[in-house]
């Protein structure tokens, strides 16, 4: 029998070792697996390479992990935000390595890892600082940059519902990187609002098939759900 259900977020992240590469879902706080990140902080793994679109907001989630100095390197597309002060301070102090990646390259490099692709040519960033030193090729008159997959040991993602096979459905724009990160990691760990009986997710609307997911853990309706984003200054 297949049962990917894990009893607690602590046991879900127990084997993440020092030096691991961890994909963390979310775009800002939408889709950020805050309970899994908190469990990872408690677990104590350090020297991590973190892959996330951003570099933390406020003092929660990825920002909290950064603040505890558990992260050696972050790979992301948009670290600088109005509330990224934890990252900003570490970066200015030279205490964290940043690999800045255009967001589409970030998504495609993660997708490629999950799909078994060895590398791919993309037009994004050709002729820019972010392509310096990279192999390029002209194909049918257009210029491309060679980019490699981002493979990972673990993915921490947030979905809305799972069954014990690990099939996932998401909620609104909290889906973002979840499906591609699940496929790109050796062990994908999904925190979900609820785990439902096998057969109760409509097969026509399952977004991430269970083959891509190794562990699911129910966290209920988060009592410390991220506050609604402010209407203040926008940040990408």
């Amino acid at each position: 029998m297949i049962d990917k259900t894990v009893a607690s977020v602590a046991s879900a992240v127990a084997d993440i070792g020092d030096g691991a590469t961890v994909l963390i879902g979310g775009f800002g706080t939408a889709g950020m697996p805050s309970e899994l990140i908190d469990a990872l902080i408690d677990q104590g793994a350090r020297d991590l390479t973190i892959v996330n679109n951003n570099a933390g907001n406020g003092e929660i989630g990825v920002a909290a992990l950064l603040k505890r100095k558990r992260v050696r390197k972050i790979i992301c597309s948009f670290p600088r935000q109005v509330d990224s002060h934890v990252f900003d301070a570490l970066y200015r102090a030279g205490e964290i390595e940043l690999e800045l990646v255009p967001q589409g390259n970030l998504a495609e490099r993660i997708r490629a890892a999950g799909a078994g692709i060895g590398a791919f040519f993309t037009p994004t960033a050709y002729g820019t600082l972010l392509a310096e030193g990279k192999e390029t090729r002209t194909i049918d008159g257009r210029n491309y940059v060679l980019e490699y997959p981002i493979r990972a040991d673990f993915a921490l993602i947030k979905a809305e519902r799972a069954d014990r096979w690990g099939n996932l459905v998401y909620r609104k724009t909290a889906r973002n990187f979840g499906p591609i990160m699940a496929a790109a990691a050796k062990s994908a760990i999904a925190q979900v609002r609820e785990i439902v009986p096998l057969g109760s997710l409509d097969p026509e609307v399952i977004v991430t098939p269970g083959i891509f997911v190794q562990r699911v853990v129910a966290v209920g309706t988060p009592d410390k759900r991220a506050e609604a984003p402010s209407r203040g200054q926008a940040s990408q």
């Binding site: 775009f27 597309s77 967001q103 050709y126 724009t173 591609i180 984003p229």
Partner: protein, 218 residues
């Protein structure tokens, strides 16, 4: 000197967006375009974080932390809208599926190079987001920006001095003084704010502009 206000610039861009277009509006000034889209046209707004059919901000109290735009502000989904993951979203953006994207800019060069992601200042923390993907991926790239900097330097330049976002990618520039097409033969002025002569626009811009075509005879 007469200038288009930010609202007038946004309304001017909105006029050029046809019925049925799939459009991505960048952060900042381009976001204002959404307020001026003609209600008789079905225009589908895409947001890079995974939605098509983006609607306006919700009523106070109806914000949903799982429903945000690329600027991480709360939005709504229009009837017919859809959610999707990031690889699909950037396939739309990079694969030539968007008809138009509207971006802000620090500089645009005479051949349509765009600089809008990084000042290059040594103490700046770089961030790029989806800017480079939109620049190379949309069928038409429209830029909205002030014509000159606060110190009076043209933001339309021979060569960008700020770090490049994309090469030869801009199709049309909307400034507070003019609308200008980036054409194979050079920068062709489409229209100028009322009261500003072409020669004065030319002087402020500092690089060669092609005057607007003469109006057709009636």
């Amino acid at each position: 000197m007469n200038r288009y206000s930010r609202q007038q610039m946004a309304a001017r861009v909105a006029r050029d967006i046809p019925d049925g277009a799939y459009v991505n509006l960048g952060i900042g000034l381009p976001t204002l375009v959404a307020n001026f889209l003609p209600p008789d046209r079905e225009i589908v707004l895409q947001s890079e974080n995974g939605l098509l059919g983006m609607g306006p901000a919700p009523q106070a109290g109806d914000e949903d932390p799982d429903l945000i735009n690329a600027g991480k502000q709360p939005v709504t989904l229009l009837t017919g809208g859809a959610y999707f993951h990031h690889a699909d979203s950037f396939a739309m953006m990079r694969g030539g599926h968007l008809d138009i994207c509207v971006l802000g800019a620090f500089q645009v060069s005479v051949r349509g190079d765009l600089a809008n992601w990084h000042t290059g200042a040594p103490d700046a923390i770089p961030a790029v987001g989806g800017a480079m993907d939109l620049a190379i991926g949309a069928k038409n790239v429209y830029v909205m920006m002030e014509h000159v900097t606060k110190s009076g330097e043209s933001k339309i330049v021979e060569r960008c001095s700020y770090p490049i976002t994309g090469l030869a990618c801009v199709n049309r520039i909307y400034t507070d003084l003019a609308v200008i097409d980036v054409a194979p033969e050079g920068l062709r002025v489409v229209e100028i704010v009322d009261g500003l002569a072409f020669d004065e626009l030319q002087r402020l811009t500092g690089i060669a502009l092609i005057p607007p075509a003469a109006p057709h005879a009636a």
